[in-house]
């Protein structure tokens, strides 16, 4: 069995095992074991990748190809480069942390864990695919369980939120499908057969008219899940209603599919379209950065704050991608990883706080640092990481983005860059607002004095996310090493236009 397909097979086996579990204890044990195996595989993949990369300089390594549907030339083609390897590692970390955070899942635990693992299967599949159609299928596999996870295990107006999230993402999928078919039906422009294979399409000179037409479809189709303004509104409602682990996975991993897809599909395959449209999407992305940050200032629900913060941080990813140079791209990937870890950590902590106090309204909370010191201290650290403090991943990512973006001399991109940089101030405001109101200050509610301290599984889940955040921030070189090499094909493919 090849090293990549295991990432789909192990989750499927986990699901099969879960079917036979009887109660929460068994379900979580099985999920934990499955997720630990995945994490081990992901770490192994990183080392294997380094070893393979040393001797193999093709764009994708560990490639496998199986014909799936002959009439339309659809293949199950898989392969990875440094970008997907790093995102697979991220996924495995977040999934395991999510399992720990759901350790005490009360309702229908078996079904919950099954849906969670299905979701992760879709994500892994997405990251290893290099066939557009297969990729799209995995994408849908990842998105659909969200409806169940929010609709069944959610809180608040969960049906509304689940419906909204699913419909908006489905709508985006429809748009995306137009984009993908647009690419597919132009993939014979040089006289070859129609193909869904990304690497083959990249060699084809798709006519400019087609690129111009289909780029917005491909871009928006992916960017909706990457919370591009103004298509982000599913995210605050969706996150607010979703159970903790789902928010973690969704914001931590699923939203990364957006940036990844934009980069790998829309930009890589339609370079002229990218050049043609970039100004428009730069405006949306840069505006989203500052708009999300300002919107976060006024929220009182912790999850809304984090959701808007994601709009801002992921706006930065799209912004960086559109800046079209190596440094900014490197920053975009790092920002994806960094945001994935940080936001998952935030949602985990919010879940822990909510479980204890039964509220997410920061005005009702206060002085938590005194009563639940571990959770609060980690929250402060996560906050500092989120506002881009050196020593944490966010700083490394943002600085790459800013330095890269600054390489453009034209006034338009200069202004967009400065607008994005100014987010470092606004971010500090909303983060410190939460820290000040919720964690510091006097204890607002007498009942909170007896809140239970953090449990081992909660600590484990939080540390699992915090350690890589710090690792990335203190020693950024090794990660850049993985990514930098893989940006080369994009530089050759996208920049000359």
């Amino acid at each position: 069995m090849d090293i990549l397909s295991l990432f789909v097979i192990v989750p499927i086996l986990t699901i099969l095992a879960l079917v036979f579990t009887k109660d929460l204890k068994q379900a979580r044990l099985v999920s934990m074991i499955g997720s630990i195996i995945q994490l081990a595989m992901a770490i192994n993949l990183v080392f294997a990748y380094f070893k393979e990369r040393a001797v193999n300089d093709s764009i994708m390594v560990f490639t496998k190809d199986l014909l799936w549907f002959k009439n339309f030339n659809i293949h199950y083609t898989i392969g990875v480069d440094g970008i997907s390897v790093s995102l697979i590692l991220l996924t495995s970390i977040v999934v395991l942390a999510g399992v720990f955070i759901s350790w005490k899942m009360k309702d229908l635990p078996k079904e919950f864990f099954i849906s969670l693992i299905v979701l992760s299967t879709g994500v892994y599949g997405f990251f290893i695919s290099i066939d557009l159609f297969t990729m799209f299928v995995f994408y849908e596999i990842a998105v659909i369980p969200m409806y169940l996870l929010i609709g069944i295990w959610g809180s608040g107006p969960k049906e509304y939120s689940a419906m909204k999230l699913t419909l908006m993402l489905m709508g985006a999928s429809a748009v995306l499908m137009i984009g993908i078919f647009g690419i597919y039906f132009n993939s014979n422009a040089d006289g070859g057969p129609l193909t869904f294979n990304i690497l083959e399409i990249a060699q084809v000179n798709i006519p400019f008219e087609a690129q111009k037409l289909f780029f917005p479809f491909a871009f928006i189709g992916f960017a909706v899940i990457g919370a591009l303004f103004p298509f982000h509104t599913w995210s605050p409602d969706g996150h607010a209603s979703a159970p903790t682990a789902v928010s973690m996975l969704h914001a931590g991993v699923l939203m990364k599919l957006g940036g990844y897809g934009v980069f790998r599909v829309a930009m890589f395959l339609l370079p002229e379209g990218t050049q043609h449209w970039s100004w428009f999407f730069i405006i949306l992305a840069a505006f989203g950065v500052i708009y999300g940050a300002f919107s976060a200032i006024r929220q009182t629900d912790l999850k809304y704050i984090n959701a808007y913060s994601s709009v801002s941080h992921l706006g930065m990813v799209l912004f960086a991608l559109l800046m079209l140079n190596k440094t900014a791209w490197n920053g975009a990937i790092l920002q994806s990883l960094s945001h994935g870890l940080m936001t998952a950590l935030f949602f985990a902590l919010i879940g822990m706080i909510y479980e204890r106090t039964h509220t997410r309204d920061i005005t009702k909370l206060g002085g938590l640092l005194k009563v639940i010191p571990f959770i609060s201290a980690i929250y402060v650290i996560a906050g500092l990481a989120s506002l881009g403090l050196p020593g944490f991943s966010g700083f490394v990512a943002e600085m790459n983005i800013f330095v890269g973006a600054f390489e453009h001399e034209d006034l338009f991109r200069r202004i967009a860059t400065i607008v994005s940089v100014s987010a470092i101030v606004v971010t500090a405001v909303y983060i410190l607002r939460v820290v000040g109101i919720m964690l510091m200050g006097p204890v607002k509610n007498e009942e909170y004095l007896s809140l239970p301290k953090a449990q081992w599984y909660e600590k484990l889940g939080a540390l699992l996310l915090l350690i890589p955040i710090t690792g990335m921030g203190v020693a950024p070189l090794w990660l850049s090493d993985i990514i930098y090499e893989s940006l080369q094909p994009f530089i050759q493919g996208v920049l000359p236009y």
Partner: protein, 639 residues
Amino acid sequence: MNVSYTIAIPLIPLAVFLVLGIFNQKIKPAVSGYIGVAGLLTSAILSYYTAFQYYFIHGKEDGVFQTFVEKTNWMSFTETLHIDMGVLIDPISVMMLIVVSTVSLMVHIYSRGYMKGDDGYTKFFAYLSLFSFSMFGLVLATNLFQIYIFWELVGVSSFLLIGYYYTKPSAVAAAKKAFIVTRFADFGFLIGILIIGYYTGTYDFQTLTNPEGSIIANWASGSFMGLSILTWALILIFMGGAGKSAMFPLHIWLPDAMEGPTPVSALIHAATMVVAGVYLVARLFPMYYFVEDGFALNIVAYVGAFSSLFAAIIAVTQTDIKRVLAFSTMSQIGYMMLALGVSGYEGHEGVGYMASMFHLFTHAMFKALLFLGAGSVIHAVHSNYLQDMGGLHKYMKITSITFLIAALTISGFPFTSGFFSKDEILVAAFEHNKLIYGIGVFVAGLTAFYMFRLYFGIFWGKNTKYEHTPHESPLSMTFPLMVLAFLSIATGYTHFSEYVSPDKMGFETHLDVKLAIVATSVGLIGIALAAVFYFKPNNLSDRFAHAFGSFYKWTYDKFYFDEIYLFVTRNILFKGVAASAAWFDRNVVDASMNLIGNSTVLASQKIKKLQSGRFQDYAFAFVGGAVVLALVFIYLWTN
């Protein structure tokens, strides 16, 4: 000279921080105090060793102080642009090592007494170590980005320490304010760095500040809105420095920062972190001086001069002793800035630069002493306010005497260190800019006045009846006071100009007797006036306050800058921008998404009636459709 061992100076406090931070709950408070002090002591010994080696043995070659660098690549942006981490040893970084390690060590020792019995004792020492690590890293930085990284880290340590009493809302507000105001300034700093990185292709200090190098030579190569691009960068970088050093108009966070424990105020908000802005300008001094004939440097001079005057005026009317000291700090840093601003480059021309660093050095000692003395007083009477004090010299001999020494030093009393350093500043100002000189002299008088207002108000004046008889602080607190009092005088006798000068060659200085007489007499007048007003209880001061009327009120309320900022942030940014963004998101963006959804539902409700299930309807539709199609085809056929 091999300097790689100096990397241990920041790393030891970092290790202490990690140990104390991670094993916070498990370490006994007494032990954590010792760990903290021991760590800092090691760093201090290494710093002194480095200073000795550098200044006296290996530093100078052919009469010029060398720069020693040890660095490694930390992160690459492009093939040429990267962030290094490392240490840079040159006259000013070594001088700063001495300042930071001395004051930090004294504060560590002092805190063992001051914080005794506090719940967060271990946490406090962890934060102090974190700060020391960051500050050492800042001082030793080899490039702009490294200094920015540690710049942010000292900012966050400052945030944590100001908010140390985190259950107090005022402390939380002050911590937030300090962080956000300096972050805003850092926004400028960062843009400045980005500009430098893009247009010069390096962040490295040695390359950037080489006066013969191509970067300084080609400063005019790009321009934007009438100024050279590098000038813009330097102005923006100075914005960062002004934020950290509490220069007008970014000073508003410093008085509030006094909410932190007093040892913290002494260490961070008086002696070390707040002078980072001065250090930054000094670090880039050749750029400031040579680019566009010192345009940006002039801004530094005027901002410094204005801040020093502005703060000194406010300090006269404040009644919280720590806030008086805070404004005094702002005023003295203004002094350092103005000295840098009027400095030249070569030989004796560089006296301003030298004086600025000299004053930074002496100021660190006497201002730390003032704060620690104030802390000792607050420890005894449990209040920050002058009203609650008076006549304390009877109870606290050591504190009283050391405080007097510090007050004399800051007032520039002859033969204290402040006398020498201030004299050099005034010499520099006199030679280059008479207006700034005038401001400097006036501020010297004001300084003497408010400082002795403070001294008399605390230790003499009215005989306050205390509920609990105040008593002298323990040795752990008075020992640092005595050491710093000694240093406040002794540091004046270092031949500073031989070691620190912009061209690194050193020069001789002599006391300028005429200027010294002017400054000293102004200072003595200030002290005399303060004695008249405050030595014995009387109502003179109230009558004067009354006579000044609204001006007094304006000064007392710090010219309403807090209110202005509050208005801008709360009413414009919060209620204006942020609230409308949030509203817009819910009621326009989200609503239009919902509209799409709802109209789909609505449309389907209309359409679904077509699917009625009745055979007649379908038959009618079928036949009707067929007829229409037939007509269309016939029409098309015939034409």
